[in-house]
């Protein structure tokens, strides 16, 4: 486990605003990463202890000194924007490509990343994984071909809750846990809107757990981005419903005794029609997953492993950092055999139990491996549990020298088509109206037995 956070500025950019080292070729095509990424840069010792950094003002119990309207962020923190980067992160995307150098406002109908950036100063902690997510969303939206005025971001409370303020779209920073319910009303009121829900592990799975499962059940046509950092950030470091058992936090000095939720399994258990997982340190994969969630008709649920470098630094480094990522992250591709570690290992099923097989030295080949099928719910359940604690309550099984421990799956775990909620609500209204005719108020008021006094 890596101990020190990399000294990167938001979005993995160097403090001078230059572009971070390139990511390897996209993971979406099934190849794996071996090149260094941002987090492999020389790390300098930094704050591991949960001190509140400048700029972490909030709406919870923390107070803010008068006059600190704009705490200084680090250089480059105001916007997660670098220069437009045609051919950079976007190179592997299949969406419409922009002309090189394009990026200004008003240069035609096409929208650019800047069109989705509000004038509000981004106030997450320097180094927070949220910057990369924000940047990826702002890069993706121009590609999606939706009208800007139809895009709405709804959030709850927590660090992730600030997200809508940074988007130059319609948005609402609602109350703790309730974003899916706000989105449900909004989407029913106007099904044309492209509604995104931004939430965190506490917001979605603790205080808002009820709304989350019901939005899945109903299959509201929306995207839910769950920023999972396995900790409460805005309230300064209490364990969350996704924190591993034994987590030592502000509120659990002797270790938490709660069994955590696995968001993917929760979603599958609530019959979510689209379930995917990605990580903040892999913008290309993240972007591909956001695009897939958006393309899906129904609730597109995307769990994003997001590093909280202040209170839970490195929680996901084993999946995101170079020295361990190949061994511990399994990138799923529909219709492709499940292999990892640069193709040297694979997953096969022994009855219902997945196991790791060596594809280099032995009798197994990729042909023997489990082939991913996004549409198979049983397979999704198995994949969902491939990131679970063992029976002793120990955290995720560690890779030992035999290499037999299971990697954690990333990608689209499950996708199934079924009618969406707002669509069905309006279809029913249309059907009833077609049958009964448009409502007549006077006739309605006069329905039932009436009598007249002259």
């Amino acid at each position: 486990m890596s101990t020190d956070p990399p000294d990167t500025s938001p979005n993995g950019q160097m403090p001078d605003g230059t572009k971070k080292p390139d990511r390897p070729p996209g993971l979406a095509d099934g190849s794996d990463a071996s090149a260094p990424n941002a987090s492999d840069e020389e790390a300098t010792p930094s704050t591991k202890k949960p001190d509140l950094p400048p700029g972490l003002g909030g709406e919870s119990e923390e107070s803010e000194a008068p006059g600190t309207k704009k705490p200084a962020g680090p250089p480059g923190a105001k916007k997660p924007a670098g220069p437009p980067s045609p051919g950079g992160d976007d190179a592997d995307d299949n969406g419409p490509t922009l002309p090189p150098g394009y990026g200004g406002d008003g240069a035609g109908e096409a929208l650019s990343r800047e069109d989705f950036q509000s004038d509000q100063e981004v106030r997450w902690c320097p180094g927070c994984g949220d910057y990369a997510i924000l940047s990826t969303v702002q890069r993706l939206l121009p590609d999606l071909g939706v009208d800007k005025e139809n895009v709405v971001f709804i959030s709850g409370i927590g660090c992730a809750g600030r997200f809508p303020y940074y988007m130059d779209t319609y948005g609402m920073h609602s109350i703790h846990g309730r974003a899916p319910a706000v989105a449900t009303g909004l989407k029913m009121s106007n099904p044309e809107l492209d509604v995104w829900v931004v939430t965190g592990d506490g917001d979605a799975l603790s205080i808002g757990g009820n709304h989350l499962i019901h939005v899945f059940r109903r299959n509201l046509d929306t995207q839910i981005l769950l920023f999972n950092n396995e900790i409460y950030g805005l309230t300064k470091g209490q364990y969350s419903p996704t924190s591993n058992e034994g987590t030592v936090s502000k509120s659990t000095p002797y270790g938490s005794v709660d069994r955590p939720f696995n968001p993917v399994s929760v979603a599958l258990g609530a019959d979510a029609s689209f379930v995917a997982r990605t990580m903040d340190r892999d913008p290309q994969h993240m972007k591909a997953m956001m695009r897939a969630a958006h393309e899906h008709d129904g609730t597109g649920f995307l769990e994003i492993y997001q590093n909280c470098n202040i209170f839970n630094d490195g929680a996901f480094f084993e999946f995101t950092e170079r020295e361990t990522k190949d061994e511990r992250a399994l990138f799923l591709e529909h219709g492709e055999p499940m292999t990892f570690a640069n193709g040297t290992r694979g997953i096969r099923l022994d009855t219902l139990q997945p196991e790791v097989v060596d594809l280099e030295h032995g009798d197994w080949s990729a042909d023997d491996c489990l082939v991913h099928d996004e549409t198979a719910p049983e397979l999704a359940t198995i994949l969902g549990r491939m990131s679970w604690q063992d029976d002793d309550g120990d955290p995720i099984p560690r890779l030992d020298e035999t290499g037999t421990q299971l990697p954690r799956p990333f990608g689209v775990i499950h996708r199934t088509e079924r009618p969406t909620y707002a669509e069905r609500v309006h279809q029913q209204i249309d059907a009833v109206t077609a049958e009964q005719g448009e409502g007549d108020l006077d006739a309605l008021l006069r329905s039932g037995e009436t009598w007249t006094i002259e």
Partner: protein, 632 residues
């Protein structure tokens, strides 16, 4: 067939109260509704109140399985469902036991003697037979072997005994209609329609109804028949309307007149669920009814729909309001319209779910974190529920604010003769959205880009600019963090916070512009003013009218606008020497009044029994207050 019998006297009376009570399976609600319809045809003014058992399927014959329907009808104005019962129809021993105390001394009781066997008394937990032990000595008792007569009447049919017995309520109905000289035709018509596809059952019910009607003529024992003449009511077309129904209709009317789609988010709760049931029938008005996963989602989805440009409404009861409170606060901060109907019931906590109480006024006016004022309205009668719902929607959209509408189960379940309003005469209800960038609503943001100003205000109302998502160029963000004046950006600025708190308060205060002058019933000045709010209106007006008949100078005001209070209320209060504030709580409006009019003296009258006021309770207090020596 309504030819009066020669042997019976017919006596004219100004008004009467009838109570049908029986087992849940005895069809008392239908019996009561049909009697109501007949009274409507007789052009009486009327008010009704059903009394269902709290249990869904209580054991037959038990006291907690008793279902009742009360009707008050008159040739004069009828303000309440009646206080003392003139005729009790008791279909079994349990019904008699539960409702006997409601009957006035000398009142009439029709009992089904077939339901007073040993096992019936046991089920009703009676160790005596009230028919024989003198319990009923003070009443005029008509003993009718209802079950036997019904079986005999239908002995030539192929219907099962169970089905035969189920039509005995029609016998009771026929007899009661005869006793009060009501037309029998509306009930006959209803039966023909209801059982059109079941001729055997249709014919059985018609026959038993007729038998009941004729029974009165042929049995000499029933000496007096009553007649209640048509009331002098305002000309117009009337219907009976229940409060819950009227609320739903008011919401639909608001939607139609404002051209906003009605979005109704709801989580089932007694006694608000009937509004959901009613609205879910009206999808051809484009109404979206959303049965949410919980109370919070019911409100939050409605707020989301309001954000989208719909008319967002939710209804609940006190415990549900508690859960919606944070969402209501978000509505105050985001300045979006939202109507929250609170069908109050006995509290705290789960309290008395089926009993009315005016327990939530302080919760409605003050019950949120922070400085979060909002308009609070209260419906005063079942029919007034329509107009109050309409007005709540109008104010919510005009001022871009959550509005709480207080009603209760007494209003919701009760019904009255309601003059159907002329929809063209309803108050104008125009909602204007921002649809394009204008000089007034745009500025250059920190990056020099054109940016919509969601918190630019209408100078007259202080309502902010309302732009729906989907409108080009007006993209903006709302949220629960304090808003910067005009831009709506997040602001922790000290001065701005004070300014915004004051502006939001002033905006709510501006609603007084929409409150009509306070109507005083009775003299414009005098010795005593009775001030109430909501569903106590009938009892208050009844009591003050009786006081005036005793030559007391007593007026009354029943507030529809609880917050903000009418601008002229202080002047009205000042014209009376005493002010009595009767409430079905431990003193809530009176605290608001004392706060707003500190120099005025207010006398409380509290009743907290899960029951409405009786007019005489208010009259007694009024009389006592006026007989006290005047304070120096």
């Amino acid at each position: 067939m309504s030819a009066p019998s020669d042997t019976t006297d017919t006596k004219e009376i100004p008004e009467a109260t009838v109570l049908f009570a029986g087992d849940s399976g005895d069809g008392m609600q239908i019996t009561g509704s049909q009697f109501t319809l007949a009274s409507a045809y007789a052009q009486n003014d009327l008010a009704t109140l059903p009394d269902y058992p709290a249990e869904i399927r209580a054991p037959a014959g038990t006291t907690f399985g008793v279902s009742a329907f009360q009707l008050h009808f008159g040739a004069e104005e009828v303000r309440t469902p009646g206080e003392k019962v003139d005729l009790l129809v008791a279909m079994n021993a349990a019904a008699l036991k539960v409702h006997l105390h409601r009957v006035r001394p000398g009142g009439t009781i029709i009992v089904n003697t077939n339901a007073f066997e040993e096992q019936d008394l046991t089920k009703a937990d009676l160790d005596y037979n009230p028919l024989t032990d003198g319990t009923l000595d003070d009443y005029r008792v008509q003993e009718v072997p209802l079950t036997d007569i019904t079986r005999k009447a239908l002995s030539d049919t192929d219907l099962s005994l169970q089905k035969v017995d189920r039509s005995k309520n029609m016998f009771a109905l026929g007899l009661a209609l005869w006793m009060y000289s009501r037309p029998v035709e509306p009930a006959q018509e209803w039966i023909r329609e209801k059982f059109g596809d079941k001729p055997a059952i249709r014919d059985a019910n018609l026959k038993v109804l007729e038998k009941g009607f004729h029974y009165g003529e042929t049995v000499d024992a029933i000496g007096t028949r009553y007649e209640v003449n048509a009331a002098a009511m305002t000309p117009g077309t009337y219907r009976a309307v229940r409060g819950a129904e009227a609320l739903a209709l008011g919401l639909v009317a608001a939607s139609v007149k404002s051209d906003l789609r009605l979005f109704y988010g709801s989580y089932p709760i007694t006694p608000a669920s009937d509004i959901l049931h009613e609205l879910s029938e009206h999808k051809n008005f484009g109404v979206i009814t959303f049965q949410a996963e919980d109370e919070i989602a019911a409100a939050t989805s409605a707020l989301g729909a309001s954000f989208g440009g719909d008319l967002g409404v939710c209804a609940t009861s006190g415990p549900g309001v508690a859960l919606k409170t944070e969402t209501i606060g978000l509505g105050v901060m985001t300045e979006l319209p939202l109507v929250i109907i609170d069908m109050q019931r006995g509290g705290p906590s789960t309290g008395l779910p089926t009993k009315p109480e005016q327990g939530d006024l302080l919760q409605a006016v003050y019950g949120r974190n922070g400085e979060a004022p909002l308009p609070v309205l209260a419906a005063t009668s079942p029919g007034d529920c329509f107009h109050t719902a309409y007005e709540a929607c109008r104010i919510a959209t005009k001022y871009r604010t959550p509005v709480i509408l207080l009603a209760d189960g007494y209003l919701g379940n009760g019904s009255e003769a309601w003059r159907i309003p002329d929809t063209d005469a309803l108050p104008a209800f125009n909602v204007e959205f921002e649809t394009e960038a204008t000089e007034r609503t745009m500025h250059k943001d920190q990056d020099g880009n054109d940016q919509f100003l969601p918190y630019v205000r209408d100078p007259e109302t202080l309502a902010r600019a309302w732009a729906r998502p989907g409108t080009p160029d007006l993209e903006h963000r709302l949220g629960g963090l304090e808003k910067e004046h005009q831009t709506g950006d997040v602001s922790y600025d000290a001065e701005n916070h004070q300014k915004m708190v004051e502006v939001r308060a002033q905006k709510v205060q501006n609603v007084t512009q929409d409150i009509p002058p306070t109507q005083v019933s009775g003299p414009a000045d005098g010795d005593l003013l009775v001030v109430g709010w909501g569903s106590t209106k009938g009892a208050i007006e009844e009591a003050t009218e009786r006081a005036r008949e005793q030559n007391l100078r007593v007026g009354s005001v029943v507030l529809r606008h609880v917050w903000p209070l009418p601008a002229d209320l202080g002047d009205v209060l000042g014209r009376f020497d005493h002010v009595l504030v009767p409430e079905l709580n431990n003193g809530q409006l009176i605290r608001v009044l004392r706060d707003q009019y500190p120099r005025c003296g207010f006398a409380p009258l509290h009743k907290i029994q899960g029951r409405p006021f009786r007019a005489e309770e208010i009259l007694e207090e009024a009389t006592a207050l006026l007989s006290e020596p005047t304070p120096a």
